[in-house]
Amino acid sequence: MQISAVTAALSADLVALGSLGDEATAEVAQRLSIAMTAPISARLVELLGQVAAELDSTLTRGRVEVRLVGGDAELVLVDDEDIEPVGETPAADSDADARISLRLPSPLKVRIEAAATSAGISVNAYIVRALQRPQHHQQPGHRRLTGYGRS
């Protein structure tokens, strides 16, 4: 992004607008055009930060960064390494010898069955894998906190 080109164009607009007035106005506009260059580029960078934050919130993975290169800025899409859980490989059904009879809400059961099917594993293996996953993912570089609680 050519931030310097935008500030230069805005300065030129301001000087042109000022020249429509009297001599004093023209001079004020001339001075303002110089003084405003830095604040305008700072505001533009702020705006880019806001753009990045808005884009970020729509991404399911990766993030958007604003990088400053010389006087100009660029928006960069950074694709994070896979945010797969750091859990152990799921124990195969045959390794599991303990047993719990589990009561759960039926809509949740339906969701688990659907998720297990789409993951291509048994419902039992899916639940074991989910339980082995740490509740609070704390990975360097990208952290996530999920869960349900009551205040």
């Binding site: 607008l17 000022g18 429509l20 007035g21 009297d22 004093a24 106005t25 004020v28 506009a29 505001r43 702020e46 705006l47 930060g49 806001q50 990045a52 934050a53 808005e54 970020d56 919130s57 993030r63 960064e65 604003v66 809400p105 809509p107 509740q135 609070h136 704390q138 570089g141 990208h142 952290r143 996530r144 906190l145 999920t146 869960g147 349900y148 609680g149 009551r150 205040s151």
Partner: protein
């Protein structure tokens, strides 16, 4: 000082549009709008202000406006447009306010409110209806808002005491502070965000470098999904619970989604349960 009193019979809508000076509003229980315009630096400046009353069936429009001075007028001396506008109007009136550098102070209870300003701060006591506020560097503070609220600033801080309906706030570098909310979407680039007491609804907080603090109202459940790239994540509320089936006796659940890049996130217990 110029002073006018208009008797009103319908719903009142006040429009104020000035550049600099100040706007001071308050409500009363009489069906009348009292307008005072003065210019402390030079009394003649008050003469450029247009004061109008347009009465229609069921509706009274009162307008206090500075005719367009244009960009050159602005450059050639803004102080020429400096006027103080003081208005007392019926409780529940609608407001449409626009200023450049003039701060707005509105005490009392209003209907729907639209306010815009460049550098002037906007303070509203109670807004019963919808709120839409926009500033560049001016701060926006609202003690309570009953309808949906949308607030945008570039650098101005935003503070909302309590919002009964959906609240949307966007700012680049302003700080965002909200008290009791029933669903909110807060976005900032570098400003910190703080919500004291989220009761229910979707709460979406997004910031690049700002810190986020969220309080969940006592008795409310919370479903958390918070991510950060380099910030810290912390919750005083135990998040190992199982989301229950929706229970009519406990309808309050907050769906909290937080996204930060370098900002820290802290989730804690809010104030006592607030009934909506």
């Amino acid at each position: 000082m110029r002073s006018e009193v208009f008797e009103t019979s319908g719903e009142v809508r006040l429009q104020v549009s000035i550049k600099s000076g100040r706007v001071e509003l308050s409500t009363h229980d009489r069906p009348a709008v009292e307008v005072e315009v003065s210019a402390p630096s030079n009394p003649s400046y008050a003469d450029q202000i247009k004061i109008e009353h347009i009465a229609r069936t069921g509706r009274d429009d009162v307008r206090v406006t500075l005719p367009d001075v244009g960009a050159l007028g602005f450059l050639s001396g803004q102080h020429r447009h400096e006027v103080d506008v003081v208005v007392r109007l019926p409780r529940g009136s609608a407001l449409d306010l626009s200023t450049a550098s003039a701060p707005v102070e509105a005490a009392g209870r209003y209907g729907s409110v639209r306010a815009s300003s460049a550098s002037g701060d906007v303070h509203l006591e109670a807004v019963g209806g919808e709120l839409s506020a926009q500033t560049a560097s001016g701060a926006v503070s609202v003690e309570s808002v009953g309808g949906p609220a949308k607030i945008r600033t570039a650098a101005g801080d935003v503070s909302v005491g309590s919002a009964a309906a959906a609240l949307v706030v966007m700012t680049a570098s302003g700080q965002l502070q909200a008290g009791t909310v029933h669903g909110a979407q807060l976005r900032s680039a570098s400003g910190d965000q703080s919500v004291d007491n989220a009761v229910c609804g979707n709460l979406e907080l997004t910031t690049s470098s700002g810190d986020v603090r969220v309080g969940i109202a006592r008795g409310s459940g919370v479903h958390v999904d918070a991510t950060t790239v380099s910030g810290d994540l912390q919750s005083d509320i135990d998040l190992d619970g199982e989301p229950g089936e929706s229970n009519p006796a406990e309808p309050n659940q907050v769906d909290l989604k937080v996204r930060t890049v370098s900002g820290d996130v802290r989730i804690r217990r809010g104030a006592e349960l607030v009934t909506s």
